[in-house]
Amino acid sequence: MALINVSGLSFAYESTPVLQNVNLSVAPGEKLAILGGNGSGKSTLAQWIAGWLPRGSYAANAGEVTVEGQPWAELDAATRAGAVQFVGQVPMQQLSGFSFTVRDEIAFGPGNLALPEAKIRARVDAAVEICNLGHLLDRDPFSLSGGEQQRLSIAAALAMQPRALVLDEPTGNFDPESREALLAQLEKLPGALAIVWCDVTLGAPLSVAERVLLLDGGRIAYDGDVAGLLTHPRTAEIFGLPAVAQTALMLRERGLWPAEAPISMDVGRVASALRPMLESAR
């Protein structure tokens, strides 16, 4: 059974349609990227998947989101918290505001479930290890840098032991080093954890995702693998192809690209596709 299932979801803010007849399912352990331009509805969809909007003052105009076959609204608070965790764009806003130390912030969620202390400690230790927060345990969460706060929000989410983690533009605030560090942390996550990564750029999410969904004007325009996304007609318009992939496409138009090689945005792959042609030209 699908972990998360979105069927026929349509949604509008006041009179502006944001999502139109969206259908998708996320399998347990699946790594999915939802990509789209500004205003494409991806943040809204991310919040629906994480179960945020249905509990607020908003309702779907049509369709529903289920978790293991059950609609969000029918789950109790503890089950919801253990099913899907959401990490949003603004790091400071992810903090509970309930903790004076990093350790307590991570322990906050499991503490709310009234787990025994030993279990909470084990969960905190595991999350701290993955997110590399060991040296910050006694710091005030609000005194951390944006990147550190983002790592903390992910650790706090992991401590809930969710089956899916929804990330909304998680690397937006990062310099390249912090981005690489986050990607390395995501690799350490348990394989059974599904990841849904929503973003407006092609770079970082594609290094994690096995499957990509393109959201365009509130509709799903593409659902498939990364290579297919790069040659999709809307991709270049929405994201601007990275110059490396653009080079490959321009060369292919001129008949200067090896027929068997897939178009890629990876420097190594494009270079190795072209090298044999260079050498034989010499």
Binding site: G56, A81, S99, N112, L113, D138, R139, D140, F142
Partner: protein, 264 residues
Amino acid sequence: MAVARPQGADHALLYVPGRSFLHRLNPLTKLTLVLWCAVAAFALPPEGTIPLALLSILIGSFAGAGRVFARRLALTLLPLSVALFVVHGMLVDHAGARASLLGLDLSREGLAYMVRILGRIAALLSGSLLFVCTTHPSRLLKALDAHRFSPGAAYVIASPLLLLEPFTQRAKAIREAQMARGLDLEGSFMTRVKAFPALLMPLVTLALADIDHRAQVLDGRGFRAMPHRTVLDAPADSRQQRAVRWAVLVSIPVLIAGGVLWHL
């Protein structure tokens, strides 16, 4: 056990880090003692309140908070003494005996009233200071949780202290952003008054947006999913402390009754 010493936002608090006996006392025990002090401040005559205040100050100094005590007490009591002295000692026409000090004609009853009020406030203030100087809010929060208080009630008590730091940070960022777009905050009083809405509006709007967002975050982390929470490193408690708390609570009605009888 070491008392947790969170780093970072403590400048906004009166808490003085330390490991004294008072620091290690369970926050709820201290809270009942503060309650006792508050009742005593009103129930006891100056012969009781002034020694009580002096005792609190002495304990506070031993706990390493002497400077905070001196500063806070001076800031509150000195202006108040002057005002009470002038108003009740000299201006208000109390009946009865007069006293003379340094050539001033003073009302004895006015002076007694002044001492009574000062004694009360000193006892109340030093008792509360003893609590806030030796109790980090996180310890109070943990003690409440550990004693199975409802999470919602604990949040209401602790959130103003917890959210002070992000609020201060944001206010500073807004001030800077508005100055950099030409808002004159270095000019005359009137220009600054006129600039005020440009500072207040984003602060209020963003605070409201934050509340909405934080409610979602708390919900996502299972807040109030259970009737009570588990906390790590809850402040130590003991049978003796529980006994002290009960004794203190039981003594409060006695104290009130005694106070009433005294005044009859």
